[in-house]
């Protein structure tokens, strides 16, 4: 009994213990807080990494299929085959081609200045994406990107249901231009808004001679979008697919087919393999298992792997904080054993066994660890939940912007508290502390109690 009683008494009577408890609290709290934020960041990044990617992407290589048939240039056979599967929620064809953006119309003067600026050069390569609006809306997040709250005022599409209609108030000088949708970042860099005219140049190889012909065409901006995927928002320009086919004079009517599933986590990989087999059998892709049918995760495999890796590394490094805290307990307990030598002698004269003395000091460590890690868990969890408020308060108080929302593309600090992790961290801190504490506690039990009793 004296173990519990004395451990508690020593704990409360010795200030140094509080330092140990604070150490563990801070360690566990920081670990939980930072891991929660990391997880939040990674989830958010994963989401934005996915960006406008759909669940499955089918990119046929336009070669002869195994049977010697030419893989068709039109998307309809693939779309039909894909939509026949009940797991598919939607499918859309896209034609993608590169181009160079120039500006025309009333803002051309500014653009000329910018074009002369070496810095501006990097913005001028664009990715033209030809889409069918209804299919696209049913399959990708384009609609959400067009309605993003960050797309405001003259950047917004007038009628989201018909985004490629000429923008209201657009009075063309010569002839009505086709409408395009540009990424918000690109629009900002080029100072584009609804109604701005742009000029796009591109090169297209002649299907017969193979020579590259330069095409250019002027378009009017119908609005901007924000997918949250920085690079995409910086270089994507949406055009109607028919318009792009016409502009490129291309025999290929699509580059890829995007597929949306009802339940991607459940069916994603299975459907990928099924479609791969089915399309190859129909001669709609060139070969089986050549990666012509991919999930979005396949598409971003290396980046996702890096994120996962980063999280594991972070967890390992932060665990060191807890180890340091446990080490503090070790130091404090070692000090206490030395300091309490006489008490150990007294206890042993009064009938305490060496194992009882060891247990007494282990109890102190146990209490340190219990109080510290539970407090830390509470603090870390509450901190993670209210991280935004805390950040705002800190920013206000210190007058420094801690979290730059512009940099990260999310308007809050994402934090995801995983109860399992909290449990593991608390347990880890516990085990770690007790392991470290075992050394001085064991030493306390082995002390020769009499040496301490002989002299004052």
């Amino acid at each position: 009994m004296y173990r519990f009683f004395l451990s508690w008494r020593y704990l409360t009577a010795r200030r140094t213990n509080i330092i140990g408890i604070i150490g563990i609290t801070v360690g566990v709290g920081a670990l939980i807080l930072i891991l929660s934020i990391m997880t939040g960041f990674l989830q958010e990044t994963k989401r934005s990494l996915r960006g406008t990617l759909s669940d499955l992407i089918i990119e046929p290589v336009h070669l002869e299929s195994r049977e010697g048939n030419l893989v068709p240039f039109a998307p309809e056979p693939i779309l039909e085959a894909v939509r026949a599967d009940p797991r598919v929620a939607g499918a859309a064809a896209q034609l993608i081609w590169g181009g160079i953006l120039g500006q025309s119309g009333r803002d051309a003067a500014i653009a000329n200045v910018r074009m002369a600026d070496a810095q501006a050069g990097k913005h001028s390569f664009v990715k033209l994406v030809g889409i069918d609006v209804e299919q696209e809306y049913a399959t990708t997040e384009l609609r959400v990107a067009l309605e993003s709250p960050e797309v405001m005022g003259s950047g917004r599409v007038h009628d989201v249901d018909r985004p490629f209609d000429p923008p209201p108030g657009y009075a063309p000088a010569v002839r009505t231009l086709a409408t395009v949708l540009v990424g918000r970042q690109l629009a900002e860099a080029w100072r584009l808004q609804r109604g701005s005219e742009i000029e796009i140049m591109t090169g297209v190889p002649d299907p017969i001679t193979g020579d590259w012909n330069v095409n250019n065409r002027r378009y009017v901006v119908g609005g901007t979008f924000r997918s949250g995927e920085n690079e995409m928002d910086l270089e994507k320009i949406y055009v109607e697919r028919r318009e792009l086919v016409d502009f490129l004079s291309s025999p290929r009517e699509f580059s890829q087919v995007l597929v949306k599933l009802h339940d991607y986590p459940r069916d994603g990989k299975a459907l990928r393999d099924d479609l791969d087999a089915k399309l190859a059998a129909k001669g709609l892709i060139s070969r089986r298992s050549t990666g012509e049918v991919r999930t979005w995760e396949d598409f971003r495999r290396s980046l996702l792997g890096a994120i996962e890796n980063e999280r594991v590394l972070m967890a390992i490094m932060l665990s060191l904080v807890v180890v340091v805290a446990a080490f503090t307990i070790f130091a404090i307990l070692s000090m206490m054993v030395t300091e309490k030598r006489r008490d150990i002698g007294i206890l042993s004269a009064l009938g305490a066994t060496p194992s009882g003395v060891t247990a007494l000091f282990l109890w102190i460590a146990f209490l340190d660890a219990a109080i510290g890690s539970l407090l830390g868990a509470a603090l870390g969890t509450v901190g993670a939940i209210y991280i935004d408020q805390i950040e705002q308060w800190l920013s206000r108080t210190l007058g420094v912007q801690i979290f730059n929302r512009g940099v990260y593309l999310f308007d809050h600090i994402p934090a995801v508290v995983n109860p399992l992790w909290v449990g593991v961290i608390v347990l880890g801190a516990f085990v770690c502390t007790l392991l470290f504490a075992a050394i001085p506690a064991w030493r306390a039990g082995r002390l020769d109690p009499l040496e301490a009793l002989r002299y004052e």
Partner: protein, 253 residues
């Protein structure tokens, strides 16, 4: 309980009789000091009878403290045997020996040796706390504390119950230590110069208390002292010199 004076003369190296409470037989003790062995006890035999008050005298370094620590089961002899109530104590398992120390021996030290973090009452109930399991303690906690408070009040410390040792005078501390030593009613009391750190007036009072309590409870007692006057109050005085027993005199008392 009335006093039970030892009827038998304690003969060195005699076999433990039924009246012997604790006996050391040919006990040697050496310590490792640096790289040489230092022998402190060179074959000491001593018996303490039930209810007997034995004074142990000798110069510093004569081995008195080592001997009583061996008899009190705190220190293991290098060779020789210690019979505690007829049982060879150092052949018992550690826990069993600890239990004997807890229940059968009460220690009073020169420097009181109270736990500084505990109050006077808590110090007194400590032996009971050490001897009880968690459940047993919970059941008897109130009882123990009540009894400790009574004993302290009896010792004139009724106003000092909640004081820490640092807030008590030397005499008060030693009285708390005596209350602690007597708390579980052990049959053997070992006092190592209990008045050595007190002024003579206070020392006298503390000693009086100790002897009266011993008498009242009929305990065996080993009293280590430098003080000739004190020795005269013992039934038997054992003198030690350089690790050997050199005298064993029964006094008139």
């Amino acid at each position: 309980m009335s006093s039970r004076a030892s009827p038998a003369t304690a003969r060195p190296a005699a076999s433990p009789s039924s009246t012997t409470f604790v006996a050391a037989r040919d006990v040697r003790k050496s310590f490792q000091v640096g790289d040489r062995q230092l022998e402190v006890l060179h074959g000491v035999s001593l018996e303490v009878g039930r209810g007997e008050l034995v004074g142990l005298m000798g110069a510093s370094g004569a081995g008195k403290s080592t001997l009583i620590q061996i008899l009190g089961l705190l220190e293991e002899p290098t060779s020789g045997e210690v019979h505690f109530e007829g049982i060879s104590a150092w052949k018992l398992p550690i826990a069993e020996r600890a239990r004997l120390r807890n229940e059968r021996v009460g220690f009073v030290f020169q420097f009181y040796h109270l736990l500084p973090e505990l109050t006077a009452v808590e110090n007194v109930v400590l032996p009971a706390m050490i001897g009880s399991s968690f459940g047993a303690w919970r059941k008897q906690r109130k009882e123990h504390f009540q009894r400790a408070e009574e004993v302290l009040a009896q010792f004139g410390l009724g106003q000092r119950l909640k004081h820490r040792p640092a807030q008590l005078s030397g005499g008060e501390r030693q009285r708390v230590a005596i209350a602690r030593a007597l708390f579980l009613d052990p049959p053997l009391l070992i006092a190592d110069e209990p008045t050595g750190n007190l002024d003579s007036a206070t020392g006298e009072k503390v000693l009086e208390l100790l002897l009266v309590e011993r008498e009242r409870r009929g305990l065996s007692m080993l009293l280590v002292t430098h003080d000739e006057r004190l020795a005269t109050r013992c039934q038997r005085v054992v003198t030690m010199e350089d690790g050997r027993v050199t005298g064993d005199v029964r006094t008139a008392r």
